[in-house]
């Protein structure tokens, strides 16, 4: 599933069968590359983040969670940066670990079952999720293309 397709999906509570929020963004963690957090908007209360572990189902029509309590506030510095979109991966430049720019990330393909990132898509090419080394405010850093 692509970030672009999954964005704006409703977040639905299984407990109350009601919409409790909307997917606004994705936070990718490294080692291995995976969706670690969903950034959720239009939720009641102060919470803005849902851990991937608290996602019960990531379907094509909705994301289900046990109840609204899983929508929480940032718990550490990294989550705060995630919340402020500092670590958003879409639109970010990609650098190889050698320092060559490989374009900007236009979309990300992930496995809705596991949250694993399968590919990063730039204007020019697709980059396997297993090539992710790290990402910060300035860039997403990936290994040198093994086939090049």
């Amino acid at each position: 599933m692509l970030f672009s397709d999954a964005r704006k999906s409703d977040v639905v509570s299984i407990g109350t069968a009601t919409k409790v929020g909307r997917v606004d963004g994705f936070v990718v963690a490294t080692g291995p590359a995976r969706v670690a957090l969903l950034r959720v908007g239009k939720a009641q209360g102060d919470g803005t983040l849902v851990s991937w572990a608290d996602v019960q189902g990531f379907g094509s029509d909705a994301v289900t969670v046990a109840d609204t309590a899983v929508i929480r506030v940032p718990s550490d510095e990294w989550e705060q940066r995630s919340d402020s979109r500092d670590l958003d991966i879409l639109g970010k430049r990609v650098l190889s670990e050698r320092g060559d720019e490989l374009g900007e990330i236009t979309d990300v393909d992930f496995d809705p079952e596991t949250g694993a990132v399968t590919t990063f898509i730039t204007g020019k090419e697709t980059i396997g999720g297993d090539r992710l080394i790290g990402h910060g405010r300035y860039a997403v850093v990936v290994t040198v293309d093994p086939s090049a």
């Binding site: 050698r98 320092g99 080394i133 790290g134 910060g136 300035y138 850093v141």
Partner: protein, 202 residues
């Protein structure tokens, strides 16, 4: 997985590196390259001085030693993390000062012929960033007076020093473009090595 060598075997001008962003493997912009720091006895570069990013930024008190460099690419110099930066004086400030002396210096052959004045230092990537030549503004002696040309250096020559003396045979390996210069450096150096071997045999 085999870690790649820090740079591909590209040729680049030392001055091109100025302003290049210094980025951690964690994707954070830490600084910009200010200047290349050369070892006084030639060979690979010692590292880089840094400045904060932005047009009117000041020089920083820390510097990037070569051992902390993970990659030197077209668009960024990559480092593992900021912990490996060292105080700028540790990277020998005198070496930095000498770099300025090289630019605009005359290049003379060991037979006393002037080849031109130095415009830039040419570096080659690989396991280290090696000094392989000068970009010079050619003087009358080269027959291409006024043109910018590249002249190869022996692998043992010092970048610094008051007199930039190169072997007379260097003039035979002058290139007019950087892309053809790599082959010229290789040929020149292998010629010097052959000469050295013959000398040892005699």
């Amino acid at each position: 997985m085999i870690p790649p060598s820090p740079t591909s075997a590209i040729l680049l001008r030392a001055r091109e590196l100025a302003g290049r962003p210094v980025v951690t493997l964690g994707g954070e912009l830490e600084a910009e390259i200010k200047d290349v720091v050369f070892e006084s006895d030639g060979g690979p570069v010692a590292g880089f001085t840094l400045r904060n990013e932005g047009l009117f930024s000041r020089a920083r008190k820390d510097a990037l030693p070569w051992r902390a460099v993970h990659g030197v690419g077209r668009d960024a110099v990559m480092i593992r993390d900021v912990e490996q930066l060292v105080p700028a004086e540790e990277l020998a400030p005198k070496k930095v000062a000498r770099k300025g002396n090289v630019l605009d210096d005359r290049v003379l052959t060991d037979s006393g012929r002037e080849l031109g004045t130095v415009l830039d230092v040419v570096l080659q990537g690989g396991a280290g960033l090696d000094v392989v030549g000068y970009e010079i503004e050619a003087s009358e002696g080269l027959g291409t007076a006024g043109r910018r040309v590249f002249i190869p250096l022996p692998d043992t020559v010092a970048v610094s020093g008051e007199n930039l003396i190169v072997p007379a045979s260097a003039a035979e390996f002058v290139s007019e473009d950087l892309s053809g210069f790599g082959a010229a450096v290789d040929e020149f150096r292998s010629r010097l090595r052959e000469g050295r071997d013959e000398g040892e045999q005699n």
